[in-house]
Amino acid sequence: MPKLLQTEYLEVIAQKVRHHIIDMSTNGGCFIGASLSCADIMVYLYCEFLNISKKTLDDDNRDFLLLSKGHDVPAMYATFAEMGWIEPSRLKNHLLTNDHIYWHPNRNIPGVEFHSGSLGHVPAVGLGVAMDCAIKGKSNKVIVITGDGELNEGSVWETLLVASAYKMNNFTLVVDRNAFQANMATEDLIPLEPLIDKFVAFGCAVRRIDGHDFSAMHETFNGLPFSEEKPNVIICDTIRGKGLPSIERRADRWFVNFNMNEIIGLHAELDGGNIATIDSEILTVR
């Protein structure tokens, strides 16, 4: 049995992470919808599941998390700030040239394993890291977080074919299934369902859970590897913009750049206050 889960602690951290994400959605803005959908997954993995700490970043035996859907990086940096990997004050450097905190992850920030931004690359990079672990005979886990829109990229499926051929059960693809890609619902553009069947057909051992339910995540991730000879896929059903009803599940809340009044309103909304009034033109197609 996995150790007792400190759900309340994770909820507190996740709430703080969401406040940081709101703060990064002004003065140039950020991809807030994806960051909020992924926040709980990120917090669970770093704060609870993965064998990684600031001290063990150079350790061969630690686990690895690679973020392939780079738009989630505010959730990642906010989690790092809460874990003490980076000074929380650095988040204020978002989009400034005095730091490296911009719209996609990069290795100048301690804890980031690999840069991303071009979709469909990092599953292969993560598989390479997993292969290195396998050659060394180690059992560390390598987790790659992809978006669901990212599954449009053929290279993701190519990599799963290879992972499956090499029976890479130390490799896990986590899909942040928030049902949107950029400015469209996934099922309105390139439908992905039935998604479980697709991954199963590619030789993966698949689980599908609620990506905002820490208990479900705890039970599922602690079941890794799901098989002796298959790569693992965990589809996390999530809500784009989770935590802020004013922007949840909306195609036009992909990239946002809020004004200060909206930011104040959103912080209050996140803490259970009234729904924030959003006046600014925030549909940004990038």
Partner: protein, 309 residues
Amino acid sequence: MDYQQLIKETALDNERMIVMTAENRALVRELPALLGKRFIDTGITEQTMIGMAAGLALRGRIPICHALTTFLIMRAFEFIRTDVGIPALPVKLSGFIPGFLSDANGPTHQALEDVALMRGIPNMEVYCPAGQEDMVGMLPDIWSSESPAYVRIVTRNTGYDHAPFEKGKAEIIAFGDDINILVYGFLFSEAMKTKEILEGKGLSVGLINMRSLKPVDENIITQLAASGSLMITMEDHFICGGLYTIVAEVLLKNQLTATVLPFAMKDKWFRPALLDAVLEYEGFTGRQMADKILMTYSNKIKNAQYHTI
């Protein structure tokens, strides 16, 4: 020693080396049995191979990736640029049948822009040995460095005793007073023939093996331009972005000019056929190139005389 023997010895000797292929085992047939898990064939998946190589290099490995050049560097171009180039990881690309060496395969297999594409990636080094002996002399240095590198693989022997390799340096076979040929890759052998034919006409002909294209030996280019001799560039590559372009860039950077006659594919793919027939059809045999050079050289002399009258 051939390529396979070299890679076998190098990889057996060094746990960091990983031999990868996107189902092109022509040069590494004996390695799966020898290397075990350090031999990885990803199947026909150039993108995944390069992404995995980046992941392996991230963990301290030195992956040597094999595939036909055209698929290795073009199908996976963005993976090379983004996953290998940006972090400057020591991934080594071995491109098989580059340039004319794809002979009768047709334009899908003709890598005539590989030098242009690879040298355009920051941090990437580009090497084009003249033949197998030259290549085997170069690879230990290339593989043991911490830089990403692309190598045009050539398995034909030149029969020439090449000087030891030095990164960023051309191999000077000879300097000429009248004509100097700059060449890379397997056309080196044709260039040798060209040199011999022109010398038979009483000309002083130099020959430079430009095996290190990035970093390139700028000194040799500026030196030859300053000498006032006719410069020849020979390459089985599009004229855009290869040696001719490199020479132009170096000359402009140094505010120099020169008479340069390029042999390259001028905005077209070559007629697919067996290699000797390709050379003949496209005008790249030693004899054909000598004839053309002679004509240009005579014009250069005539013009020079005209201007001095």
